[in-house]
């Protein structure tokens, strides 16, 4: 992605444009408005999480009244555990595939619906609708659609593809593809809305000026829309990466991490290790390492994308 010569460098800058640059925090006063929510968040999320993190240094099985502190042994084990490595690789594949597809499709839909087609409001609502449904319910619906004798395969059979033509959830590779399809289908609406908002913030004058210069649609997208969507790209990429790295509901419902370990993500591994196998201390260690990993990736991404935004502007 090179953004070396965006149109803003050449086009006349509209007078209201500078007002849109990111605002600086207005000082201490804004913190008082955040405080109540922050306190509630700390009480129900941060403090219990921090308290729970202690178990990562113990051998607690989740039930026994006694436990022993074993230092960093759980972390050492996690780094050597081939199942953790496998889950990390699967998680990375999911995060990458979901981020790329969600953003490309979301952006494409936003561009399509930013035009003056008559049914655009209907389509916006329709495409955003899956976002408001609980992921578990969406995953269950897709599970039935994608099952061996489900609707998708029935349609394929009717079209002459043979009975049970595609093993959507039973083939290790197709299972990965299916989870990505279901997740992107549900979340592309969020990316679309954020990109749509970004597109509507771009001053019309820039396009008018480009039209006068005889720019093609592709040139306008490449030199106006995409560079000025940089803040929307930052939000979307960071959100979809974090969601991809935390992926649980869709995997758990569709495949339970299978076949074998083909779709086992870090989140499903943590769940199984703690609640099914009963290794609570070890699972907490994996979860803690995962938290640090997700935080590092999202902060790194954020820093890089913010830098890119500044460069574009």
């Amino acid at each position: 992605m090179t953004m070396s010569s965006p149109v803003t460098a050449e086009a006349p800058v509209p007078t209201r444009w500078p007002a849109r640059s990111p605002r600086k925090p207005s000082g201490g006063a804004s913190w008082w408005f955040v405080l109540p929510a922050l306190l509630a968040y700390a009480a129900v999320v941060l403090l219990p999480s921090a308290g729970g993190a202690v178990f990562a240094f113990t051998d607690w099985n989740g039930l026994a009244p006694e436990l022993a502190f074993i230092g960093g042994a759980n972390f050492e084990r996690a780094f050597r555990d081939p199942q953790v490595r496998s889950a990390l690789a699967v998680t990375a594949v999911f995060a990458l595939a979901i981020t790329v597809l969600q953003n490309i499709i979301g952006l494409a839909l936003a561009l399509l619906l930013n035009t003056s087609i008559r049914s655009r409001n209907w389509l916006r609502t329709l495409l955003f609708a899956p976002v408001v449904v609980t992921p578990v319910i969406v995953a269950y619906l897709w599970k039935y659609l994608l099952s061996s004798n489900g609707a998708v395969n029935q349609v394929a059979t009717a079209l002459g593809a043979g009975e049970g033509a595609v093993n959507w959830l039973g083939d290790p590779r197709m299972a990965v593809v299916s989870v990505v399809i279901v997740t992107v289908w549900q979340t592309m609406g969020v990316a679309m809305v954020i990109y749509l908002a970004g597109l509507q913030n771009i001053p019309e004058e820039l396009y008018e000026a480009a039209d006068m210069d005889g720019a093609s649609s592709w040139t306008k997208f490449r030199l106006i829309s995409f560079p000025l969507l940089a803040p929307a790209v930052t939000i979307n990429v960071v959100l979809s990466t974090v969601n991809g790295l935390k992926l649980f509901d869709q995997v758990f419902v569709l495949t339970s991490g299978g076949p074998g370990y083909a779709t086992e993500t870090l989140s499903t591994l943590v769940y199984k290790t703690s609640f099914i196998v009963g290794e609570f201390g070890y699972a907490t260690a994996i979860a803690l390492a995962m938290t640090v990993f997700v935080a590092a990736v999202s902060m790194g991404l954020m820093a890089w994308l913010k830098g890119r935004e500044a460069h574009v502007h």
């Binding site: 039930l63 009975e163 049970g164 074998g260 609640f275």
Partner: protein, 419 residues
């Protein structure tokens, strides 16, 4: 799975209240009991039926029944036990194998010692070990669950197939059913716990028939899965798949779909636990189903079946209503109650009962039960819940061609010896 939350307290309480009204004329001297009980979804209807009988005997009692799907139950109950919010009577799996089995929960001190209850001496010897932890009895076992081939009588009769007695005959049955245009065996290996059942059906014959002390030798480190009769069982499992005895895409087929296939006659049988027969009947709308032993050996005398205490109830050690809880557990151990419970979930009662065996559903497998040819479920004797999880995963990998039998069993051995 874990998101099915069929926890309907209201319906249960209503049923109980209704029963109490019906039984309004009973003796006024009977004590009233007020307590809660939490069970798994598959046992909910059976539990509600016996709770209604309990309230008939003790009019005015209030019993709050709660249920959740097995995975959800394990998660929820572990949290409730550790946070001191568990109900008075707790469904607990006998033996070991999952995180809410007796061997996991018992030593942690969350359950009451029931060793002095009058029914303890009636627990069959084969179930003593799986109902005890460190020498004390903690659960009343309710059902004897069998694993075998639940078959659709109409389909089998139409295809002109006799019940097979040996492995070779079983393969012949499979071929005849295929020739008749039906799927011989429905297999829903997309649902993790289903993956283990064919192995469990075969291992009694391939392992325990020649080595009855296999579990003790495993525990002593003198035997391993790899190189044992488990290899034979897994190869037979894969052989059935290669021969086309299962439906297409077993890894993409769920547990529910497999039952539906047998219920509707699309498949002839499903290798499953006896407790699912009622669900198959529901799909079918008739009850022409029965269960036969899966013959895992070519010597009919060496064919054994998996038969284990399937459901159990324990009393919460911290219960504030332990008298009521104990009264209920004693009631569960009565022959009539246990028979009713077992019949409702399509299993046999844990305590031997001649009347229960008369059920025609179990006629083909009855000789195995009566002659003591049952072997406990393998996981009930495993040292941790991890072996079972690895077993689920490796069977799926075997079916997708991602691993070999030797590697699969090697990983189960590693999980067995893991600390």
């Amino acid at each position: 799975m874990s998101y099915q939350v069929p926890m309907s307290r209201r319906s249960a309480v209503f049923a109980v209240a209704l029963s109490a009204l019906v039984a309004g004329g009973a003796s006024a001297a009977a004590p009233k009991h007020d307590f809660s009980v939490f069970t798994v979804s598959s046992d909910k209807a059976a539990l509600e039926a016996v709770v209604a009988k309990f309230v008939e005997r003790y009019p005015g009692s209030k019993v709050r029944v709660n249920a959740a799907d097995a995975d959800q139950y394990q998660t929820t109950m572990r949290v409730q036990l550790t946070s001191g919010t568990a109900p008075d009577v707790i469904f607990t799996w006998p033996g070991n194998g999952n995180s809410l089995a007796l061997a996991q929960v018992g030593p942690a001190g969350y359950l009451s010692d029931l060793s002095s209850r009058p029914w303890v001496k009636r627990i069959p010897d084969k179930y003593r070990q799986v109902t005890q932890s460190q020498g004390k009895t903690y659960i009343v076992p309710m059902t004897e669950t069998l694993i075998g081939a639940v078959f659709n009588r109409d389909v089998i009769e139409k295809a002109g197939v006799a019940i097979p007695k040996t492995w070779t005959e079983f393969l012949g049955t499979c071929e005849k059913l295929k020739a008749a245009g039906v799927t011989p065996i429905a297999l829903g290996n997309a649902t993790p716990w289903v993956t283990q059942l064919v192995d469990y059906a075969l291992v009694p014959s391939t392992v325990y028939a020649s080595q009855p002390d296999f579990d003790e030798r495993m525990a002593a480190g003198k035997a391993k899965f790899a190189g044992s009769g488990w290899t034979d069982a897994m190869n037979k499992y894969l052989d059935l798949n290669r021969r086309g005895c299962f439906n297409k895409n077993p890894l993409g087929t769920s547990f529910e779909e497999s039952l539906q296939m047998v219920g509707t006659g699309k498949a002839a049988m499903v290798i499953q636990v006896s407790g699912i027969i009622n669900q198959v009947r529901t799909f079918a709308g008739h009850d022409r189903f029965a269960m036969f032993a899966v013959p895992g050996a070519d010597d009919a005398a060496k064919v054994l079946i998996p038969a284990a205490a399937g459901s159990g109830y324990a009393v919460n050690a911290k219960s504030k209503r332990s008298a009521a809880a104990l009264a209920f557990v004693d009631f569960l151990a009565e022959e009539e109650t246990m028979n009713l419970y077992a019949k409702r979930i399509g299993s046999l009662p844990a305590f031997p009962s001649a009347t229960a065996l008369d059920d025609p559903t179990f006629a083909p497998i009855r000789p195995f039960v009566e002659s003591g040819k049952g072997v406990p479920f393998m996981d009930q004797r495993w040292p941790n819940a991890k072996v079972q999880q690895v077993h689920f995963a490796v069977v799926q990998e075997l079916f997708s061609g991602a691993t070999s039998v030797g590697d699969a069993l090697g990983r189960m051995d590693a999980a067995y010896t893991a600390k």
